[in-house]
Symmetry: C2
Subunit: 154 residues, 2 copies
C-alpha cells in the first residue's frame, strides 16, 4: 500500500484489480461534526451529547453523510489520484459503527472490478471499495463506489 | 401522497409497504454548492463553471455527496417523520444526472420493505426508496436506504 499523494494521475489503463490506495488523515472536530449536522442532519444524536446518550448511538455521533463527505475529501485530496478526477456514478454505503468527535479518519481503498465501457471506448467503470477507518483501526464506513475512469488519450 | 410535515411521528407499527412521503423543497444556491465542494469534494467541475464545461458534467455540478446531504436534510425536516429519528444503517445511492446551481430539490419516498428484527423485538429495518427531484421533475438522486425504525413502546 502506497502513499499515492505524490504519484502521477492514473488512467484506466494503469489500474488493475486488487490495487490498493491509502489516503492521508482527517481529524473530525466536535464543532465541525455539529455544524454539518445543523446544516444537513439536524437530529439530537448528531447535535447534543446529553440527548445522544439516550439513543441507539450512546453518545454524540457524526451524521453518516458527514462521514461520507469526509471520505470523499480524503479520496480527492490524497486517496485516489485518477486522471480527470473522481467521478462517482453511485454506490453502496454502510456505517457499521458511529464516527465520534475527535476521531482521526483515513481511507483505504482497493479496486474490486474494472469494466470497460462497450458504448464509449474512452472510458470504463471501476468498482472501488473504500473503507473509512478511525484511529483504532475500526471501520466506520464501507463504500463500494462505481467510478467513471478515462483511458489515456491516444 | 401527503405533506407529512404536520403529521405525528411514526413507529414501525404505523408503516406499510407502498406508503409514500413527500418532503418540502430546498433551493441550492451556487455559493452553497461551491462551499460544500471546497470543503468536501474540491474538484474543478464542482468549483468552477468554466473548467466544468470541459468535463463530462458540461458545466458546474454539485458534488453527489452534497445532493445526498441535502436529501437527508429534506427527509429529516419534512420528508419522513419517524419516531426516534431517521437512523440509516446504510444504503445504495445513484446520481443519474447532475444537480445544478439554482435547482429546487424535493424528495419523494416510498416504503419498499419492512423487516422486523429477529434479535431485537423493539425494532425493525425499513427499506425506503427516496428519489430526489429537481424543479423539472428529473431524478438527480435515487437512494435506497436501510432505516432502523422502532416499535411503539408498550
Amino acid at each position: 500500500m502506497s502513499d499515492n499523494g505524490r504519484e502521477a494521475a492514473l488512467y484506466l489503463d494503469d489500474l488493475v484489480v486488487g490495487a490498493r490506495f491509502r489516503s492521508g488523515e482527517f481529524v473530525l472536530e466536535e464543532a465541525s461534526l455539529k455544524a454539518f449536522a445543523a446544516q444537513f442532519d439536524p437530529q439530537p444524536f448528531h447535535l447534543d451529547d446529553e440527548a445522544a446518550r439516550q439513543t441507539l448511538f450512546g453518545g454524540l455521533a457524526a451524521s453518516g453523510w458527514h462521514t461520507a463527505a469526509i471520505t470523499m475529501r480524503l479520496l480527492v485530496t490524497s486517496g485516489m489520484p485518477l486522471a480527470g478526477g473522481l467521478i462517482g456514478a453511485g454506490g453502496e454505503v454502510d456505517w457499521p459503527r458511529p464516527t465520534r468527535a475527535g476521531d482521526i479518519l483515513r481511507v483505504e481503498s482497493c479496486i474490486q472490478a474494472i469494466t470497460p465501457s462497450r458504448s464509449r471506448p474512452d472510458r470504463g467503470i471501476v468498482a472501488l471499495e473504500s473503507l473509512t477507518l478511525n484511529q483504532r483501526d475500526e471501520v466506520v464506513q464501507r463504500l463500494l463506489a462505481k467510478l467513471v475512469v478515462f483511458r489515456r488519450p491516444a
